[in-house]
């Protein structure tokens, strides 16, 4: 089983090499899809192994897949598949040299995220998170316009400074372990009780590491790079970054939190994450009300959802199954929305909301999936985001964080209203009367990934076996009972 751990790393890297070698071949456009499929299949195999009670490990304990890692790697694969398949480029445009490096970087990006969730050492996890910044830098700047260059510059500077802060934190955590018998960065060892880690160093290290990874997760007040980068990148890249890269950073926070909880208790990070979460909701609410660009609207929606997830992480084990389900639901829906937004941008030629009107009458082929996915992202049942949000709020109430989740609920209502208004503005209404309109039923790209993503999100919350079991097992990993 341990060989499966290497597939999501070696597979995409090999495919990236292939993409660079395949000259002028139209096969190249399937590299991203193939890499995502490799990650997804190995993720599902690892989930199967984990549910049978195994914990596959390889490379002298360097790579390890407990229930949480197996779940996350499946999410990376699933969101990757929706983004790359939905954003499949045309055969003609995939012959250029730019397309070769684009597909290669997508594959490397997937490999870096896979390494981040499979690494046992928190140092290696850090290096992999930094590698995601490196792989995505040129993807954000792919269009080579002034705006995309600006977005890419801000993204790389803020992203790497943030992650450098996390490195400082990890340095302190390592320093804390030097005082014990076994100096280590292995999460498995660090998350054991009675190791005798120095509390002062763990407090400083945990705070800095969480601060750094929170920058990468797009939590306020370190979020300023996110709307720029996610709105300027090509649609599949935005889908991957918003849908799953933010969650990978949140995963890093979860791992760090489980180390600090054992030494200094949950209160310290709980305060930090609650504040960051509420601030993120506030930023998203205030900037969504007057938003004019629909790709930026989706980016602010990601800040909102990450904020609520951070509150869930702050609440602790009671909310964690809901948070983990949230990661999958948000990832799939956000990837779908970015894919559709890319198609709208291509066909309408403008990212401005007020210039895209009466989409439902003019282009029902795009407007109908857009409306369904929008309903899912603002939290309508039966989509799983609804159940995750309810789960987090109930859990917050039960552990005595009623004030925090109450405030979050009010902000969620504001965001709900803003989103509804913007979506109605884009889709509903009559087209200008002087132009004759023939409804365009084309979906302008593969529709199957969109249907798959929507169907999965609509049904997954009702599947107790094996999803519920897996989520509970993943939560147990973080509780220290593994």
């Amino acid at each position: 089983m341990s060989v499966v751990l290497w597939i999501p790393l070696v597979g995409p890297v090999a495919l990236a090499g292939l993409s660079l070698l395949l000259r002028t071949s139209s096969l190249r456009r399937f590299v991203g899809v193939a890499a995502s499929s490799a990650v997804l299949v190995s993720g599902l195999l690892l989930v199967g192994a984990v549910l049978n009670g195994a914990v596959p490990a390889s490379g002298d304990g360097l790579l390890r897949a407990d229930a949480l890692s197996a779940y996350m790697i499946s999410v990376v694969g699933a969101v990757g598949l929706i983004s790359t398949w939905g954003g499949l480029s045309s055969a003609a445009s995939s012959r250029t040299k730019d397309a070769a490096s684009y597909e290669a970087l997508i594959a490397l990006f997937l490999a870096a995220m896979s390494l981040a969730v499979l690494a046992d050492s928190i140092g290696l996890m850090w290096a992999a998170v930094e590698a995601t910044t490196i792989a995505t830098a040129f993807l954000v700047g792919h269009h080579r316009t002034r705006r995309s260059l600006e977005a890419a510059w801000k993204y790389v500077i803020l992203g790497s400074v943030g992650v450098a802060i996390a490195l400082l934190g990890i340095g302190f955590i390592y320093a804390a372990s030097v005082g014990t018998d076994t100096p280590t960065l292995s999460w498995l060892l660090l998350s054991q009780a009675n190791l005798g880690l120095d509390p002062a160093l763990i407090t400083a290290g945990g705070a800095l590491a969480v601060l750094g990874f929170a920058t990468k997760a797009g939590l306020a007040p370190m979020h300023s790079w996110l709307p720029d980068a996610h709105s300027q990148a090509p649609a599949p890249v935005s889908g991957l970054m918003s849908g799953v890269l933010l969650s990978v950073a949140l995963y890093a926070i979860l791992r760090i939190q489980s180390i600090t909880n054992l030494v200094i208790g949950p209160e310290f990070l709980r305060a930090m994450l609650s504040i960051a979460g509420l601030l993120s909701l506030l930023v998203a609410a205030s900037l969504l009300i007057r938003q004019r660009d629909y790709k930026r609207m989706l980016a602010y929606s990601s800040i909102e959802h990450m904020g609520l997830m951070a509150i869930g992480v702050a609440i602790g084990p009671a909310a964690l199954p809901a948070v983990l389900l949230y990661i999958l639901g948000h990832g799939l829906i956000k990837a779908t929305l970015f894919v559709i937004s890319g198609r709208i941008l291509k066909i309408e030629g403008t990212p401005v909301i007020s210039d895209v009107r009466a989409l439902l009458v003019r282009r029902p082929g795009l407007a109908i999936p857009w409306l369904i996915a929008m309903a899912a992202i603002v939290g309508f049942p039966p989509f799983s985001i609804f159940f995750s949000e309810v789960g987090i709020i109930m859990a917050g109430w039960s552990v005595g964080l009623g004030g925090v989740v109450g405030t979050a609920l009010v902000l969620l209502l504001v965001i709900f209203a803003a989103f509804t208004r913007l979506t109605v503005q884009m889709t509903i209404g009559a087209p200008p009367t002087e132009v004759a309109v023939t409804p365009d039923y084309s979906t302008h790209g593969p529709i199957l990934p969109i249907i798959l993503a929507l169907a999965t999100t609509a049904t997954i919350a009702f599947v107790a076996e094996p999803v519920g079991t897996l989520l509970r097992a993943a939560t147990a990993v973080l509780g220290g009972t593994h």
């Binding site: 002034r146 260059l149 890419a152 500077i157 400082l168 720029d228």
Partner: protein, 219 residues
């Protein structure tokens, strides 16, 4: 013999680290900043080598050679890769005047001593006592990032910050496992190369490398 001069060597290395950081804030010429960065890389490598010799660990000495080649030689070479004549005339016009900037450096250094001694404690080793220098370098790196206008100067601020983090890590824990150190160095090298490419694209697209021009995207 070595035990006697060990605290002095640690002091010498960390002192030169702090001195080069302060000089980077003071000097406005890009070429001078790059040379100071190279000096700082050498001082950091020397610090790691001293720690390695004191602990008698070959691995740490190998790490010091890695640092020397990446931070002392590699990165400065990448930064000054374009013709030296062009760099010589690049003058930074920072948002802070030199006196205010040096005053800020002093305050940041005091702040980092206060923070480290309160939060973590200085301990009773000579490396522990020097640990605040690393934090001061991190804060000075932030100062450069905020106060400089040109893309390459911001890049130097980022590298100073990174050197500071490495200094803190080595002074508090005696260094991380070599495989990870290798991954860290590679990551930093790639980030710098990427930013370097972006700087070039910026000067062709915008006709200059002032970061102030980057203000098209906002809400």
């Amino acid at each position: 013999m070595f035990e006697n001069i060990y605290p002095q060597l640690i002091g010498l290395c960390t002192g030169s680290l702090l001195l080069t950081s302060a000089l980077m804030v003071w000097r406005h010429s890009l070429l001078a900043s790059i040379r100071l960065l190279a000096l700082q890389g050498i001082a950091l490598a020397a610090l790691v080598a001293v720690i390695g010799i004191a602990e008698g660990e070959v691995e740490v000495i190998v790490v010091s050679l890695l640092i020397l080649s990446v931070k002392g030689i590699g990165l400065p070479w990448v930064l000054s890769h374009q013709s030296k004549a062009a760099i010589k005339h690049v003058q930074e016009s920072p948002r802070l005047n030199p006196t205010a900037a040096l005053l800020a450096v002093t305050l940041l250094t005091i702040l980092s001593y206060v923070v480290v001694s309160r939060v973590v404690g200085l301990g009773n080793t000579s490396t522990g006592h020097a640990a605040p220098i690393g934090l001061a370098m991190v804060l000075i790196g932030f100062l450069l990032l905020i106060s400089r206008r040109r893309a390459r100067s911001q890049l130097i601020g980022f590298l100073l910050l990174d050197n500071g983090i490495a200094t803190v890590t080595f002074l508090t824990s005696g260094g991380v496992p070599i495989l990870l150190e290798f991954a860290f160095s590679l990551d930093v090298l790639l980030v710098v190369l990427i930013l370097h490419v972006f700087t070039r694209r910026m000067s062709t697209k915008f006709g200059g490398t002032a970061v102030d021009q980057l203000r098209e995207l906002h809400d």
